[in-house]
């Protein structure tokens, strides 16, 4: 295993070095965008997730409901993130038939409605199942 690890480190440094060499001419323009990801995540996104988790624990003491709602929130956040470049378009390419011509806001709203209907149904069903199996073991 030691050999594999050493080889991986050496290859990794070589590949990243090659990438850095290719990146060099663009670095002044890309530096802000490169550092923004980790900074926004560590200072903003992750603390928000943590706070949301704490709040969820207070609001929903039931474990089954908490799991389902947490999953719903995670999927909602994913869909919202993916929708950002479709809805917020500061410097887009020239208008073009067939490109970005959907009604993204309505589409997103429909997906989120379906998602939360699924979350509520899923939580209710697994709660009911858990109760039933608990009742069975009691007998």
């Amino acid at each position: 295993m030691r050999t594999i690890r050493v080889l991986l480190v050496v290859a990794g440094i070589a590949l990243a070095g090659y990438g850095g060499w290719l990146l060099w001419p663009q670095l002044p323009y890309a530096a802000g965008w490169l550092i923004a990801g980790p900074v926004l995540h560590d200072a903003l996104a992750a603390p928000l997730v943590g706070l949301a988790g704490l709040a969820l624990g207070r609001v929903l003491p039931d474990r089954v409901w908490r799991r389902w709602v947490a999953a719903g929130l995670a999927i909602t956040a994913t869909l919202l993130l993916i929708a950002v470049p479709l809805i917020w378009r500061p410097h887009p390419a020239p208008p073009n038939p067939g490109l970005q011509d959907r009604d993204y806001t309505t589409g997103l709203a429909i997906w989120l409605t379906a998602l939360w209907a699924g979350v509520l149904a899923g939580a209710a069903v697994s709660r009911w199942r858990e109760r039933r199996s608990a009742a069975r073991t009691d007998r």
Binding site: R5, L8, V9, G12, L15, R67, P85, P97, G98
Partner: protein, 369 residues
């Protein structure tokens, strides 16, 4: 008073454990690996080095590799966030003060992770904006996205090397129900993200995928990336297709082209942005055309467009594509004369090629050495 900066042990979520991180890391590694391989393949298809030749079969090859590229990138977005949440407490490990060797390895590992995260976020975010054809930055996307991909795989290899022992023991342990629920959520988010966008390239999902950056629309029912207006195209009345090779030049009018034997092929047009659509194209096979005017048919051909400027005003058809009977100089799309946005009077359509190289508004074919 509470301490202003939390410590790793302050985090109580069941997600914060190597059994979860290692599994997410494996899935993320697969997604990034697919993204990297298909991305490099696409780069080579567009800028082939001397030793490389992109195959002409299957005709959907580029459609598939590029579809995998964008969808594995989409799938990686929730996986990356889940993985980072899993390891977030480690950000608050206080660095060691001594001995110097330990301080140095700790700093080196932190630096390698910072580089990995800069590169990973950059690739996902810049790719996502690029597929939406939105460019809120000043760097050159193609060059930068390609360069940072190498940084990402390099940093990933170092990270795997560092974490290999932890990962191995983590896979020996089965996660408890709460941890399995977290992993299932990450899977679900990834699947939903793919379904919400896969309609760009999977026909039966076109109506379902609300966040696909392409629809079924477009002139003649087929999307385009660059309209005739955007490219500033005006087809002159005396338009001729010029075919030249050392020692000869040949000019054909549109009537001449229409009079030649026509061939019909069903071929996809597959863009680097991952969208693709299939259509029925009719025109003259490039190989037949060259043979008709007496030009050699075994060489690469430079195709020039009426477009005066722009990155894709010319393209080079590799010899393998020139020799392929399915490579057409198309005059018709689904039976109708090409609309201006699809490249009237004629365009190149070849099997298994990036869409940006399917040159439109063709005015000249030049045989290269």
């Amino acid at each position: 008073m509470k301490a202003p900066v939390p410590r790793p042990e302050d985090f109580r979520s069941p997600a914060h454990t190597p059994t979860v991180s290692a599994r997410l890391g494996l899935w993320l590694g697969v997604a990034f690996g697919l993204c990297f391989l298909t991305g490099v393949a696409s780069h080579y298809a567009q800028h082939p080095p001397g030793w490389f030749s992109w195959p002409t079969r299957p005709v959907s090859l580029y459609r598939i590799t590029q579809g995998v590229h964008v969808l594995s990138g989409i799938a990686a977005i929730p996986l990356l966030l889940a993985k980072l949440w899993s390891v977030y407490p480690r950000l608050f490990i206080r660095p060691p003060r001594r001995p110097p060797a330990l301080v140095a390895t700790h700093a080196a590992e932190r630096l390698s992770i910072l580089i990995l995260l800069c590169a990973a976020f950059f690739e996902l975010v810049s790719g996502l904006f690029n597929v939406a054809q939105s460019y809120p930055w000043r760097f050159f996307f193609i060059q930068t996205h390609y360069a940072v991909a190498w940084v990402a795989v390099g940093a990933l290899a170092v990270h795997i090397a560092v974490k290999l022992p932890v990962t191995r023991s983590a896979f020996g342990e089965r996660p408890d129900p709460d941890r399995r629920a977290f992993l299932r959520t990450a899977w679900a988010a990834s699947t939903v993200a793919v379904l919400a966008t896969a309609g760009v390239t999977v026909p039966w999902l076109r109506r379902v995928s609300a966040l696909a950056w392409r629809s079924n629309g477009g002139p003649q029912g087929l999307p385009v990336n660059r309209t005739a207006a955007a490219a500033g195209i005006r087809v002159p009345d005396d338009w001729r297709l010029r075919i030249s090779w050392p020692g000869a030049t040949h000019a054909l009018s549109l009537a001449d082209l229409t009079a030649l034997p026509q061939r019909t092929a069903t071929l996809p047009i597959a863009c680097v942005e991952g969208w693709s659509a299939t259509a029925r194209w009719t025109g003259v096979a490039v190989k037949d055309l060259l043979a008709t005017v007496g030009a050699p048919t075994d060489r690469p051909v430079r195709v020039s467009s009426l477009e005066a400027a722009g990155l894709y005003a010319t393209s080079t058809l590799p010899a393998a594509h020139v020799a392929d009977p399915l490579t057409l100089l198309a005059l018709r799309l689904d039976g109708q004369i090409l609309s201006p946005d699809h490249g009237y009077p004629c365009r190149i359509i070849a099997p298994s090629r990036p869409g940006v190289l399917q040159t439109k508004w063709v005015t000249r074919l030049e045989l290269l050495r």
